[in-house]
Symmetry: C2
Subunit: 556 residues, 2 copies
């Protein structure tokens, strides 16, 4: 006999998901027990539910999907911000939540984790707001609902919310599992309307063939859809130079000869890239660039709509023409098949050197740290960048070959990166996971360090300690006391959280930093390196930029 809860876990395991992140608790024991009993899915019990949601988000970025398990009310609401971030970043996270037994509900009894008024459906709608699909399971509908939920979550590339009352979750599932199960590949590929597809592809090819200069902007959504290598095949075939925005950084190898750099409006690297992209005859956005403030150096990018082609999710836009009902994978495949022209020139713009200088300063500055960080990176490593000033620095680093980069430029929820590193580490078995975070953001979710120790994962963690919320101190009008932080001794945290075997260091000098990095590079275990950075480095942005970002003042 398979229970409803066991069926759910087993069905999700079929997608290649081998971890479930969450916090156990009533009324989710049916799911909790099913995960515990599964030999395909490992329970990763996190320090709290928001952290678990961030960890699931990180895992889904690498594996394409994740399981998040929280309890009714208190648990699911704590996770909501994290799941909403997965929605923003288009990640299929299956959020499973148990609720009070329908026997309790029918009797009109009052339980804990409610408002005390006998109402039992207050919270599902809130959790559902972060999902693209919802399933309220029963023994009768579970098998069909799971196929539907999986299909929708992959098709829309967004979280799913799956809930079942305790009594129903423990009942045997009814019916037979279908022979043909929905797969990630089926849904991600989607189905295209042939006429729209043909018209879109020939329109794109015509535009590209007649362009004297062209540039591609591949996006991180290619990774979510599993289309990175298909995209790379196309770029290679037509010899198309490419750049990425900060949000999409690392989706293709930055050691590729066609890689031009970071396109971020006025903050592009190299600087000349801005003009080159914006004057190209065709800019080919592959996946849907989000032109948000933090991705465009405060809306300083400017691409003429008539020269922009977007290969989006279920649509293609070429100037004013919109083709719909098309799968991105089909478009890329057809482009590979049909493209016959030679491509456009690579402008060879160059990229600023990231050189390690022997600084005469004893203390560590950003200009000392980031080149050293880069020198540590190896193929298959994944670098995780926390939202904050550190992300601005990391965006500018040209990554070595096949080094991945994960960030949360759009949702920008500080604290995300530490638990995301837990999830990424568990998903990324081929290389190391290296986190760079700031003290301000790290404080929000540092309790996840204990979870990393418990499950024996071995990240390399750099915590940049400047004593303030650096990015806020830049963005707010003044250097406010509220941007100061409690004076944590970060390097003492791993031991306090049970990670006694971790290598830890506090580096106040370049010499100490070099020694710690060398040790981390050769150490077979987790490393936690606190780097003291002077707060004075955090210099207010020009007033003009802030005005542009917030647009709070009367225009003059």
């Amino acid at each position: 006999m398979t229970t409803v809860a066991e069926y759910v876990i087993d069905r999700l395991a079929e997608l290649g998901i081998d971890c479930a992140f969450g916090v156990p608790g009533d009324f989710s024991f049916p799911f909790d027990d099913a995960i515990d009993a599964s030999d395909r899915v490992q329970w990763i019990v996190c320090a709290n539910e928001l952290n678990a949601a961030y960890a699931a988000d990180g895992y889904a970025r690498i594996k394409g999907a994740a399981i998040l398990s929280t309890t009714y009310g208190v648990g699911e609401l704590s996770a909501l911000n994290g799941v909403m971030g997965s929605k923003a970043h288009r990640l299929p996270v299956f959020h499973i939540v148990g609720s009070p037994s329908t026997r309790v509900q029918k009797k009109g009894l009052i339980t804990h984790h409610t408002l005390g008024n006998g109402v039992y459906n207050n919270f599902a709608g809130l959790s559902a707001s972060a999902a693209c699909v919802v399933a309220n399971l029963t023994p009768e509908n579970t098998i069909a609902e799971m196929e539907r939920v999986i299909k929708e979550a992959f098709l829309h590339s967004a979280p799913a919310y799956i809930t079942v009352p305790m009594d129903l979750g423990l009942m045997p599932v009814m019916g037979e599992r279908p022979e043909k199960l929905v797969t990630r590949a089926d849904c991600q590929q989607g189905i295209s309307i042939q006429g729209e597809l043909d018209a879109a592809v020939s329109c794109i090819l015509d535009k590209l063939a007649s362009a004297k200069t062209a540039v591609a902007l591949p996006t991180g959504f290619l990774a979510t859809r599993g289309l990175q290598s298909l995209c790379e095949s196309f770029l290679n075939k037509v010899n198309l130079p490419f750049a990425t925005t900060p949000m999409d950084k690392g989706v293709l190898s930055e050691a590729h000869p066609s890689y031009l750099g970071l396109y971020a409006g006025a903050g592009s690297v190299p600087e000349s890239l801005k003009d080159w992209v914006e004057s190209a005859d065709v800019v080919l956005d592959i996946g849907g660039v989000v032109f948000l403030d933090f991705n465009t150096t405060i809306w300083t990018s400017s691409i003429d709509q008539d020269r922009l082609i977007t290969i989006g999710d279920q649509f293609v836009r070429v100037g004013q023409k919109i083709f719909t009902g098309i799968a991105m994978g089909d478009v890329l495949q057809k482009l590979v098949d049909k493209a016959s022209f030679k491509g456009t020139p690579n402008p060879q713009l160059g990229y600023p050197e990231s050189s390690i200088t022997d600084s005469s300063e004893k203390f560590v500055c950003s200009s000392d740290f980031y080149p050293r960080l880069r020198s540590l990176l190896k193929p298959d490593d994944v670098l995780v960048g926390e939202t904050g000033t550190c992300l601005l620095h990391m965006n500018k680093l040209r990554l070595p070959d096949r080094v991945g980069f994960q960030n949360q430029t759009l949702w920008g929820s500080i604290g995300w990166a530490t638990p995301a590193t837990l999830g990424i580490s568990l998903a990324n078995q081929s290389g190391r996971t290296i986190l760079v975070t700031g003290d301000g953001a790290h404080q929000l979710t540092a309790n996840e360090i204990g979870t990393m120790g418990r499950y024996g994962i071995n990240p390399i963690i750099f915590v940049l300690n400047n004593g303030i919320y650096g990015v806020e101190d830049e963005l707010s009008e003044l250097g406010h006391v509220y941007d100061d932080l409690a004076a944590w001794q970060f390097h003492q945290l791993p031991a306090a959280m049970g990670c006694g075997k971790w290598f830890t260091a506090r580096c106040a000098t370049i010499e100490a930093l070099d020694a710690a990095i060398a040790h981390a590079d050769s150490f077979d275990g987790a490393c936690y390196i606190e780097v003291m950075i002077p707060a004075s480095e955090s210099k207010p942005l020009p007033e003009q930029i802030k005005q542009s970002l917030y647009q709070t003042k009367t225009p003059t």
Copy 2:
């Protein structure tokens, strides 16, 4: 010139609120700056938003209201579970959130902290679900809206959600502040319909006058309404014995001669209290007892509806009669004025002694810890109990005179108690704040320790370390691995979080515990005592109780 944001902070300060809990961040800088500039409200920057919500909840329990300040999207959603807990426990928390400038919105620009689709109203509805009233401020409506919001929040005794876009938040407020401002006392008292009030009170008095035995169940809601002393006056005047449920424990002094004990169905203390209450001619519920599972030892209380009188919020119920449109304060005042009978006998049921025994066991058991905890308590102390096995033990302790007790029996969100202790400490200036938490719950929110250190508050914290989620291990069907915890070295946490001056101890023996408690009692500063408790103490509840709680299995 006073800005909209400044007006909001100043108006809330007028209610006697002198702290604002939160995390600063765009797009809330107008509020952040207004708090910073206020000389009446202190910024308490918390480690994260959920912790801030819990801290505000704790503060509101003592001061009657609180300010919670978070940013748009990421911040407010992280806080949602905490604010929903304040709704469940009926606490007026003013949740203020800034949103992107309407100039940005009107231009159709995309910002961070959104789903990247140019939609800017996704999240207000989610936050509003935890509130009883919402205000979308503009320069024109701010003065009137603040009076309305304050009135509603106090009248319904629930959170309020106040939001303003950045540009509008920085604009000057329009109009004049009214001469007569809404006060907490006005709203809490409410206005009663005279006919209903007279009828209800005479019905109550008739019932009580003819009762041979009667008992009152005063609730924690009396504290929220500021009606504790009025209630006590009434009980004294008619010499009515009283008991409290676990959720309401500590609302009146347990040293009062009319205090009978803890009424919790089969878990009542003394045990004989259950029968005495349930056979009394009248049970007078003052404030609205919530008969939830955790308040009734799994629905084992049983009070005949015909003998129950409820003085609720805006209603009175006497048997089958319901009187509405009545303020609780008016009912109590009229009862004090009109009651003329002598009252009913006190059954003198006794209370089990809490005696400190010299245990022959070297290690610390619950039977060693809780009597020692009780011996530490002094008048004006507030004891904070975290949800978990420790709360079950604390419920049974008879508190010394004028010792307050705070718990989250209804919402039951583990992790609440540590940040709540921050808020309670800041609100409770007359005595000490003493937290007892378990290792499982403490891990969720332990990062708030650093905030306590930063602001120099001096709680006494006991962390009971048994290595497992004790209450879950009892409640779930098996002793699951998922109930095990990462092996934190709790006593090292304060130092790691910058609380170098705190007294810390790890006590594995009774001798060490006695020494630590003696030190804590005489130490002029914060104390953090980790107490090692054997996991084997956590014994599974009888199967019958679990079945009753979860009602998952087919009845036989």
